[in-house]
């Protein structure tokens, strides 16, 4: 469904992504793992339209999206839950969620999406009137994911959702993602946390210095001596 080919991107003269190709099929759960500074977040920004690539192509359902901006990407169904969550701090939980459903396709189903998100994260329903910046880290992550779901994504991209969460909360977050995937949502997950993300995903890519260096079924990758040595410290 999502076909990414030869993406080159960076900031000024720094090329953080140097020719990345990957693909995600319908209903798949794909992990992109790599160490600090590998270029994962940069790639996610390019996919979501925040950052225009220097070259390369991004296709979703055959439509070319590279460089056409975030509004287009969201309208087409690529939705990013960004690194650091980026909830709107001085707005309530409810307002944050409503903003998720800005694109016209999602706007129509806003009320129904809201019910679904509240069913998935009952904590958010309890705190719907609370300002987002007063939420705990875990709640903010739920909010960021919920806000992403409000956009009715065809593919949900998450960048480092485990960042700053306690192991227990990470487990919970990942379980929620697995449930969503089981219900038919396509997911691309960028993570430093190699062990966990390979455990929940079906397929994985390993990124290093702006390039994909390994790819394959997650279970295989987790067993691969190279991955184990480099990322799992085994």
């Amino acid at each position: 469904m999502l076909e990414v080919a030869d993406i080159v991107a960076g900031y000024g003269r720094v090329l953080a992504v140097q020719g990345v190709s990957l693909s995600v099929a319908e209903r798949e759960f794909v992990a992109l793992v790599g160490a600090n500074g590998a270029g994962k977040s940069t790639l996610m920004k390019v996919l979501s339209g925040l950052l225009a690539p220097k070259s390369g192509s991004i296709r979703l359902g055959g439509r070319e999206l590279a460089g056409s901006g975030a509004e287009e990407a969201v309208a087409a169904g690529i939705v990013l839950v960004p690194e650091g969550r980026m909830v709107f701090p001085r707005m309530t939980v409810l307002e944050n969620l409503l903003l998720g459903a800005t694109n016209p396709r999602a706007r129509k189903d806003r009320e129904r999406s809201l019910e679904r998100v509240f069913a998935l994260f009952p904590r958010l329903a309890e705190r719907r009137g609370q300002l987002a910046r007063t939420l705990s880290g875990g709640e903010q992550q739920m909010l960021a994911i919920g806000r992403g779901l409000m956009a009715l994504p065809r593919i949900l991209i998450l960048d480092e959702p485990s960042l700053g969460l306690s192991p227990l909360l990470v487990q919970e977050t990942y379980k929620a993602l697995q449930r969503l995937n089981a219900d038919g949502l396509t997911i691309l997950l960028a993570e430093q946390n190699v062990r966990l993300s390979l455990a929940v995903s079906t397929r994985g890519y390993v990124m290093e210095h702006g390039r994909i260096v390994l790819a394959g079924a997650s279970a295989k990758l987790a067993d691969d001596p190279a991955t184990r040595k480099a990322y799992l410290g085994l």
């Binding site: 969201v74 960004p82 709107f88 903003l99």
Partner: protein, 288 residues
């Protein structure tokens, strides 16, 4: 000091304050959505007043009837200015934007000077020279109408910003531009609309205020400064704070004039501004 004099000054201060609040709200809207400090803000309002005067002089239409057309016209001017001039320089930072609007100050003030001359001008409306008495407090009718309109518009703007999709989008852009983009919010369109709304409100307000002021082409900067003071008082970017700040400044000015005469009255808001900036850098009602 007899109590009714105090009451008179306070009431008049509150009425002026609601006008300041509206001007500051639109200034804040423009600042919040794009990070532009608009030094030409007051000048746009003065431009609207002169436009109202010109139409009155030419075809005899009362300024109050021009409020809505002027809103539309100024809205278009605002969006045009945003797309053509402001947006391209926004990324250069706050100071460059401020300098740009200082240029606009010169252009607007002197365009008005060129067209209308430098003489003081009072514009008669249907309400001129009428007063209303509330007990011992006597209020000029134009001021009463102007501040009532300002209060209504302030509330309208507040509701628009806090309760509608558009308002939420404006606030989203204000709070985190990247996150707003990720929501699929058309950033530039929202900014241009907010900018147009800010300038448009000045057009509208100008029509309602024209009876309240003696016009000179250079009076805009003082209005801008007052609005800036209110904005800072309210906590920059805090819309509710603007409403409170406007009323406070109006009263400070009114009572300052009453107790110490015109000069001190005029100076009081600036003293207050410096104190607030130093002691409450995020505004009287600011957060953090």
């Amino acid at each position: 000091m007899p109590i009714d004099v105090l009451l008179q000054a306070t009431t008049q201060g509150l009425l002026m304050g609601s006008i300041y609040a509206l001007v500051a709200l639109s200034l804040t809207l423009i600042f919040a959505v794009g990070g532009l400090l608009n030094f030409a803000h007051g000048d746009f309002m003065v431009l609207a007043m002169y436009a109202a005067f010109a139409v009155l002089a030419a075809v005899g239409v009362d300024p109050y009837l021009l409020a809505v057309p002027l809103f539309g016209l100024f809205f278009l001017v605002g969006t045009g200015l945003f797309r053509g001039l402001v947006r391209p320089v926004l990324s250069e930072g706050l100071l460059v934007g401020a300098q740009l609007t200082l240029g606009m100050v010169f252009v607007l003030q002197n365009a008005m000077l060129l067209i209308f001359g430098g003489d003081h001008l009072s514009v008669p409306t249907v309400l001129s020279n009428r007063n209303v008495a509330f007990g011992t407090v006597i209020l000029p009718l134009p001021l009463l109408v102007a501040s009532a309109v300002a209060a209504i518009l302030s509330i309208f703007l507040y509701v628009l910003l806090m309760r509608t999709d558009f308002g939420r989008q404006v606030r989203a852009v204000t709070q985190n531009r990247d996150a707003a983009a990720l929501m699929g919010i058309p950033i530039v369109r929202v900014q241009a609309k907010a900018f147009g709304l800010g300038i448009g409100l000045l057009g509208l307000t100008g029509a309602f205020l024209v009876a309240q002021f003696t016009l000179t082409p250079s009076m805009g900067l003082d209005l801008t400064l007052l609005a800036l003071i209110v904005m800072v008082f309210g906590g920059i970017g805090n819309f509710l704070g603007c409403l409170g700040g406007g009323l406070i400044i109006g009263v400070i000015e009114g009572l300052g004039t009453l107790f110490f005469g015109g000069t001190v009255g005029a100076m009081a808001p600036y003293v207050a501004l410096v104190l607030v900036l130093l002691l409450r850098p995020h505004g009287l009602f600011g957060e953090h």
